[in-house]
Amino acid sequence: MTKKRRKNRVSVGSKVFDTFNYILLGLIGLITILPFIHVLGSSFATSAEIADTTFLLFPTEFSLNAYRYIFSTDTIFKALGVSISVTIGGTIWSMFLSTLTAYGLSRRDLIGRRHINFLIVFTMLFNGGMIPTFLVVQQTGLLDSLLALIVPVSINAFNMIILRSFFLNLPQGLEESAKIDGANDFGILFRIVIPISLPAIATISLFYAVTYWNTYMHAILYLSDAGKWPVQVLLRQIVVLASGISYDGSSFTDVPPPEVTVKMATIVVATVPVLLVYPFLQKYFTKGALLGSVKG
């Protein structure tokens, strides 16, 4: 009933506006997603069809050759192994440290929390930069170890602040009643605060996991041993350098110049894990990202 009445009131101008708006947004959505579909489709096509100018989205001849090719050597398995272990290990480590720090700093009775908080926020505004950080990583003995991808980025200040705001907004009575029941601070955190903060924990875990999966810069900075390269570095070798568009002259000698379908398949392999977790966690991260916006 109310819907009908509203409809009657809608003016022509408003209708034109709506139509235009819906179409434009649809186009934006399409432009976002089409490149992925193009890459996915191409990875299952035959090279002959790619060479054909009419190829757009879906191959007429389905082929797994590209995947068979990239999985025929152990290069990709090694890289995936590195990426998976860094992602899992790194996410757990980062969440552990971030949660402890965020919870401690969220407690209003902690003296000095404002100062400590400022010191952490300051690292978002200013940092030592690439070379001094490199020297510290070197001096802490992490060069050429997978730990170099994790330890120097243990806590992301922004993620920590999001968690802290979430904890700050929890009802304070919870802690007090737990204290009366004899729980200590660690007990309160692990038995009460974390279980009721799962949406925030899930969001931040996703953020960390994505960052670790996407790690590239730290790998090229800190790892010279090609056997320890994560999948993103491998992808760059296969797609960017093999296009002959190199800058620093490094080359990828294990594999001959790959065909287009192989490049496409490698992109898919480097992307799929993120796409797989995305639908499960989507409902959380919009909430989580909002929390970040109300930080104090």
Binding site: F126, I131, R236
Partner: protein
């Protein structure tokens, strides 16, 4: 019990009680030793990997030799900075950095706001959510993936874009190895990756707008566009300003990874920015002190810009970020 302690400390205490108050603070500090233990690992992390590198900036005033270390290397004062400012390369890098920054502010920044305003006008929530789901995705892709996708699509021989240009009777364009196309490619990729994600915060701010305002505007005969302009946009003004400050603070953080991946010998004159220059001069050529000076300059400019932008926000009666 704990409650009374907190309130006591927070209320104003006469001067005579100052000493007592200090004792009280100390008692509370001791009481919370477990909390300090909890934040200790985090603090140690920030000290080692964030503050120690800041101390390491002093090597930009030294002739740093790795085998001599910071204590053994020789001081050279501002020599590296002098060399930096007098090199023509520096000014070209400075210009490139500023151009990319300007593209970020003037081309990229308004786009999430516009998309948010458009999404806000969508009445079918399934359509709205569907579009949102799609446009958030690229944010989760690495720059390597995004640059790789653009490489396979824009490549000269068999990329789909050039194939289409050919089909429609245009000349093929070497997008990837041209200094004219570097900047458009750069900003298009930034927009494609971040524009959707950027809407989250604006959409949240929009939901806080009082619906009565729209009703009143409708009665006054405002069209949908006028409602957007006079109600929605002013309502999210402070969010826009805060984000703009953050963006300005990031002035020189244009993304090492992104630019480094796009960089090649043919677009270098427009693509080389501070970050990539630091990487090449420092890590690849081993000029630690000189490249630290470059990074220091960049960081200092960034910090000054945040402070400046924040002041400006306060001047306009907005809250700022600190």
């Amino acid at each position: 019990m704990a409650n009374t302690v907190v309130t006591e400390a927070n209320t104003k205490i006469p001067v005579d009680y100052k000493k007592k108050r200090r004792q009280e603070l100390w008692r509370r500090t001791k009481k919370n030793k477990m909390l300090y233990l909890m934040i200790l690992p985090g603090i140690i992390y920030f000290l080692i990997y964030k503050y120690l590198p800041m101390y390491g900036l002093i090597i930009s005033f030294m002739d740093y030799k790795p085998y001599l270390g910071i204590t053994g290397s020789e001081w050279v004062g501002f020599e590296h900075f002098r060399r930096l400012f007098s090199s023509p390369e520096f000014w070209s890098i400075f210009r490139n950095t500023l151009v990319l920054f300007a593209l970020q502010i003037f081309v990229f920044f308004p786009i999430p706001i516009i998309i948010s305003l458009m999404l806000n006008e969508v009445r079918h929530s399934f359509y709205k959510r569907g579009i949102q789901t799609l446009i958030y995705i690229p944010h989760f892709m690495s720059w390597v993936v995004i640059v790789s996708i653009s490489f396979v699509m824009f490549t000269l021989d068999d990329g789909i874009i050039n194939s289409m240009l050919e089909v429609f009777g245009f000349e093929k364009i070497n997008f990837l190895m041209s200094s004219d196309w570097f900047r458009p490619m750069y900003i298009l990729q930034v927009i494609w990756r971040e524009a959707g994600w950027g809407t989250i915060i604006f959409l949240a701010a929009i939901t806080a707008v009082d619906p009565q305002l729209y009703e009143a505007a409708k009665i006054d005969g405002a069209t949908r566009l006028r409602q957007m302009w006079h109600i929605t946009l002013p309502a999210i003004r402070s969010v826009i300003i805060v984000l703009l400050i953050l963006k300005i603070g990031d002035v020189l953080e244009l993304g090492f990874e992104h630019v480094y991946l796009l960089l090649n010998s043919s677009n270098r004159e427009v693509a080389e920015i501070f970050d990539t220059y630091v990487y090449v001069a420092g890590i690849q050529q081993g000029q630690f002190s000189y490249s630290t000076a470059v990074g220091f300059f960049k960081g200092a400019v960034g910090l000054v810009m945040v402070i400046f932008a924040n002041k400006l926000a306060k001047l306009f009666d907005e809250e700022g970020i600190y």
